[in-house]
């Protein structure tokens, strides 16, 4: 603060914090692995047209069910499409699902949770009772029900997953909001005449954001598995979309003779969801101050 020359070279606080977190994560081999895989996933999705060796939808009926090799890194499927290229394009679908679910679930959970937590009383009771009702289903089964009613498609699968994964976020945001509610600066804002809505949006939500973001990361592995499960059951992405779960579903018919049809999409799902889990695990450690000091 005292010298201006020092501050000019400083990065803004959030970026600095992010840098520290990333550095911490890289220290542990498991979360470094998670981070590396996810970086790779983003790169692959971004440069899919450059990385893919073939058109993902180009059929070649003369070369169906080719084993890996011969210009097809992971072989070809029952319509002669290149599996490697389809996986590469599928990365985009996976990222889209995660992104859309997160931007729906994050705000919904945050708004419901902070409102309930800050206002308390009857509002809290009613909102939490609704949350509990959603919580009383296993998420996959509730998503199944929604998709069944909405009709099977990738978009509906995303809606269904979003509808079922906000309750844990809301619970978390509520718990956080309740701890901040009694803070002095909130009282100060109230004394200045700020409306509840203003306090919730301007003071409470920013405080709850970090833990909600971690929780969203932890959630992503589940989102990926649920989406793949829906795709596998034929209720998510529809053929010919190169969604990994749907690829496994079609490959299932040929799995005894052509193992590569199901093996590679499965490994992709496993790797990405494992990466998210490892990263989430590392993040939990990174942001837990007790853990930080001990290392």
């Amino acid at each position: 603060m005292s010298t201006s020359t020092e501050t000019t070279f400083r990065l803004p606080a959030p970026i600095l914090a992010l840098k520290n977190i990333v550095l911490f994560l890289l220290k542990s081999p498991t979360s470094a692995f998670g981070l590396a895989v996810l970086t790779l996933l983003v790169l692959v999705a971004a440069f899919a047209p450059l990385i893919a060796t073939h058109e993902p939808y180009a059929q070649d009926l003369a070369l169906t069910l080719q084993a890996p090799g011969n210009g097809h890194l992971f072989g070809t499927d029952e319509l002669g499409r290149d599996i490697f290229s389809r996986l590469v394009w599928g990365a985009r679908i996976t990222l889209t699902i995660i992104f859309l679910v997160s931007i729906v679930v994050g705000p919904i959970g945050l708004i419901i949770g902070t409102t309930a937590g800050y206002l308390g009383g009857k509002v809290d009771t009613v909102m939490m009772r609704i949350t509990d009702i959603f919580l009383s289903f296993p998420s996959l089964i509730l998503s199944l029900a929604f998709v069944a009613a909405l009709g099977p498609s990738l978009n509906n699968a995303i809606v269904a997953i979003a509808l079922t994964s906000w309750p844990p976020i809301a619970r978390l945001a509520r718990a956080e909001a309740m701890t901040f509610r009694k803070a002095d600066y909130i009282s100060a804002a109230r004394l200045q005449g700020a409306s509840p809505a203003r306090i919730i949006f301007k003071s409470i939500m920013p405080m709850c954001l970090p833990s909600v973001l971690i929780r969203l990361t932890l959630n992503m592995a589940t989102v990926i598995l649920t989406a793949a499960g829906l795709g596998f059951l034929g209720l998510g992405a529809q053929p010919p979309l190169p969604e990994w779960g749907a690829m496994i579903a079609t490959g299932r018919r040929y799995m005894l003779d052509s193992w590569w049809l199901v093996t590679f999409p499965g490994i992709s799902i496993l790797t990405v969801s494992l990466a998210f889990n490892l990263l989430g695990d590392g993040l939990r450690d990174a942001l837990d101050p007790k853990q930080m000091n001990r290392r």
Binding site: T30, R129, I130, D132, I133, F134, L135, S136, F137, P138, S139, L140, I141, L142, L144, A145, F146, V147, A148, A149, L150, G151, P167, P168, R171, L172, A221, L225, A228, G229, F232, L233, G234, L235, G245, I248, R252, M255, L256, W259, V262, T263, P265, G266, I269, L270, S273, L274, F276, N277, L278, D281
Partner: protein
């Protein structure tokens, strides 16, 4: 999964809470069933029926009434045990479900035994070796189980252990030629075959259940391991553990006779919850293994658009979940002397 736990606030509010949650469940299933784009009339009469037939069925389903009235009828039906008839099988839905349930319960029970048998010792082992290499190995092992798409692992396991090595039975609950050999008394094949004294059928059934149950168990063990580890860490940090050591108990005696005993109640409750979420995995694994259980029944109805049957299935899963939550709460109260 750890957050999929309803909290019941005190014994007095418990009945009220359950009633409200149940009502909410019914509202949810009702609205998903009635208000979504899928047309229940079309599902019954098909796409090319006449307009008159459509109108007739529309009225007979009560769809011309106001919504609240429809919901009232729905409630009445549910409480009188009338869940309607499945369009696909032509049987009352509830009868169908009761018929397929034992297969799923058998699978889930086998799976939870494996899951708990794996998860609890691993969790204790990881806690005792906190931050040393066994802890890291256990952590990666259990995260792996948590990360695998179970439907895919099921297929790979079928290819490897059944098709390639022939170590276990393939799809279904038993080998084809045994089907129909044993009378259905309980619906649990392992029990029925023992009652009938058909040891061949029994071993065939064991051969068939072992693979899907192991996979389900492994995936649920991830959660059990993680929770066991954190419960144990809580206990091992307590002063009474030192007391036990001062008395002259060995490390192992202290771990098992003091710390572990204190987490038994918590363990039972999370195992009950894990049992509930096995139903979720069962939907996928039953499809892969052609297991004639609840999960397969549900997915078949989903594919044919039999919404009535689907919503009944969803409702039943919800009720089972509430029941397990309640059970875990009750167990807590019974077994923890501090809450008595």
């Amino acid at each position: 999964m750890s957050h999929r736990r309803i909290r019941f606030y005190g014994a007095a509010g418990q009945i009220g809470t359950i009633a409200v949650t149940l009502l909410g469940l019914l509202l949810l299933t009702f609205f998903i069933g009635r208000l979504m784009p899928a047309d229940p009339v079309r599902a019954i009469i098909g796409e090319d029926a006449t307009r008159e037939t459509y109108e007739q069925v529309y009225r007979s389903l009560g769809l011309d009434r106001p919504l609240w009235e429809q919901f009232f009828y729905y409630l009445r039906d549910v409480f009188t045990g009338n869940f309607g008839t499945s369009i696909r099988t032509g049987q009352p839905v509830i009868q169908d479900i009761l018929h397929v349930m034992p297969a799923t319960i058998e699978l889930a029970t086998f799976a939870i035994l494996i899951g708990a048998g794996l998860g609890v010792p691993l969790g204790v082992f990881a806690a005792v070796n906190k931050d040393r290499w066994p802890d890291h190995v256990v952590r990666v092992f259990s995260l792996f189980g948590h990360s695998m798409p179970i439907f895919w692992t099921g297929m790979i396991a079928l290819i490897v252990f059944y098709a390639h090595f022939g170590l276990v039975g393939g799809s279904g609950r038993m080998d084809q030629f045994y089907i129909g050999l044993v009378d259905e008394r309980t619906g649990f094949l392992l029990i029925d075959s023992l009652i009938a004294g058909e040891m061949d059928v029994f071993w065939s059934a064991v051969n068939h259940i072992i693979l899907p149950a192991t996979l389900l168990g492994y995936s649920s063990s991830a959660y059990i391991t993680r929770m066991t580890r954190s419960f144990m860490l809580d206990q091992l940090g307590q002063e009474y553990v030192t007391t036990a050591r001062v008395k002259g108990l060995s490390r192992n005696q202290t771990i098992w006779q003091h710390a572990f005993i204190n987490i038994r109640v918590q363990l039972v409750t999370i195992i009950a919850l894990a049992y509930g979420s096995l139903l979720e995995g069962a939907v996928l694994i039953e499809t892969v293994f052609a297991w004639p259980g609840f999960g397969q029944y549900l997915t078949n109805n989903l594919i044919t658009g039999d919404m009535n049957a689907v919503m009944t299935c969803v409702l039943i899963v919800g009720v089972i979940f509430i029941g397990l939550n309640l059970l875990s709460d009750v167990l807590y109260r019974i077994f923890d002397p501090r809450t008595r």
